[in-house]
């Protein structure tokens, strides 16, 4: 994929010269991270035993982005709630122990369960695996791979600025159109799955 970006930056015959391979791979990684943040298109389910009411989820799952669903090990839904709900149910809810029935997600990674305890199954939107080599395959549907190439071109031209950069904005627009398209799919899918979080709604790639 890095070679493809390089070729489209007109470095085909000579290979990587003005646009170094490592920089192109870094650009593709940036695009992939942004894609996952925009679409929440990668998810994973993992076991989790909360040791207290509150947990910084990044200390448990380093690839955490946002919670999608939490269930007990028996398969019962742990309901997503807000702080007002929790206070109404039990004003001292943070001190309760038992088997989790509800959870709150506050800030980037702070999750509280009520009552604290039990073995849970957490489905969350995750960050992608880092691309390290030209042949690594990005974790996004294959039909959108050209959009990542577009992002790579756009980012490589940021160094130049001015009109050279303006010419690359169409590639960024293409990437955003792809993210909007796939994000809509993920959002509808998440609604169908009764997930608690969906991706940001983009309109015309903005």
């Amino acid at each position: 994929m890095a070679t493809r970006v390089s070729e489209r930056l007109n470095e085909g015959p000579t290979g990587f010269v003005y646009y170094p391979k490592l920089e192109i791979i870094a650009a593709l990684n940036e695009g992939l991270r942004f894609w996952c943040l925009l679409t929440l298109g990668l998810e994973i389910t993992a076991g989790w035993t909360p040791g207290a009411t509150f947990t910084h989820m990044l200390t448990v799952f380093s690839d955490w982005i946002a919670p999608l669903r939490i269930m007990t090990s028996a398969g019962a839904i742990v309901r997503h709630s807000n702080l007002a709900d929790m206070a109404a149910i039990d004003p001292s809810w943070i001190f309760a122990t038992g088997t989790a029935q509800r959870y709150v997600a506050i800030g980037a990674d702070f999750v509280g369960v009520y009552p604290a305890g039990g073995t849970l199954s957490v489905t969350y939107a995750r960050a992608p695996v880092v691309l390290a080599a030209d042949g690594d395959v990005p974790e996004m549907p294959i039909e959108y791979h050209p959009r990542l190439v577009d992002y790579g071109i756009y980012r490589m031209r940021q160094v130049e600025g001015g009109q050279e950069f303006l010419k690359s904005l169409k590639y960024f627009a293409s990437f955003m159109d792809g993210a909007e398209h796939y994000g809509n799919y993920v959002r509808n899918r998440n609604k169908g799955a009764d997930y608690d979080t969906g991706p940001l709604e983009l309109k015309d790639g903005k």
């Binding site: 690839d63 982005i65 001292s92 800030g107």
Partner: protein, 206 residues
């Protein structure tokens, strides 16, 4: 967990430097220390704008007959407060006065707290407590300062590039021969998009 040192490494090429040794030369138009300053300012700003850094703070211990306490220096906003295991309702002074005309002289088991009764950065308990205990706050806080040697931020890795674009915007907007106002504007637009996503996923600030 983000290491903003990765952001620095990621943007050197886009700022026209050949690497870490190049930007470390004496008299460069931008320094690594400045790049970290822009990242630090960005982290502080989103702490207020989106309340993204949330934690359970129990650093204050109330004692009998003392109503007012200094909040931690990193405090931004308290979402919920408990004294020992008793929930405290967040109450403005006008409401305390309506509730109890001589509220400052009332003693008993505290059931409310106010953030505008004392000076900025203090919490005041009502009634003046006759029994002390830990003040537990579910609170939005400022992250630790970002600088050379302390570059980690407790945020999902997909937000790394938010800090990269803040650094790029700062550098290209800085008064210098390498200033690129058109690129600064674009980088700030990119940051604004990240902030929209942050608000969507992690909530707005207070």
């Amino acid at each position: 967990m983000i290491d903003t040192a990765d952001s620095v490494a990621d943007i050197l090429y886009r700022l026209g430097f050949q690497g870490g040794a190049d930007i470390a030369l004496t008299g460069t138009w931008v320094t690594v220390a400045e790049l970290y300053q822009w990242a630090d300012e960005a982290a502080k700003a989103i702490a207020y704008e989106s309340g993204i850094f949330v934690t359970l703070d129990a650093t204050i211990t109330a004692v009998a007959a003392t109503a007012a306490y200094n909040l931690p220096a990193t405090h931004v906003f308290s979402l919920a407060v408990w004294l020992a295991t008793v929930p405290l309702r967040l109450t403005a002074v006008r409401d305390l006065r309506a509730l109890d005309a001589t509220w400052t002289a009332t003693s008993g088991l505290s059931t409310r707290c106010s953030f505008d009764a004392g000076s900025v950065g203090t919490i005041t308990l009502y009634p003046n407590p006759t029994v002390g205990g830990a003040i537990t706050q579910l609170a939005e806080e400022l992250p630790a300062d970002i600088a050379i040697g302390s570059s980690n931020v407790q945020l999902p890795t997909v937000l790394l590039d938010y800090f990269s674009y803040k650094m790029l915007a700062g550098a290209r907007g800085k008064e210098s021969d390498a200033a690129m106002p058109e690129m600064e504007a674009h980088f700030l637009e990119r940051c604004a998009l990240y902030e929209k996503i942050i608000e969507h996923l992690y909530g707005t600030g207070h």
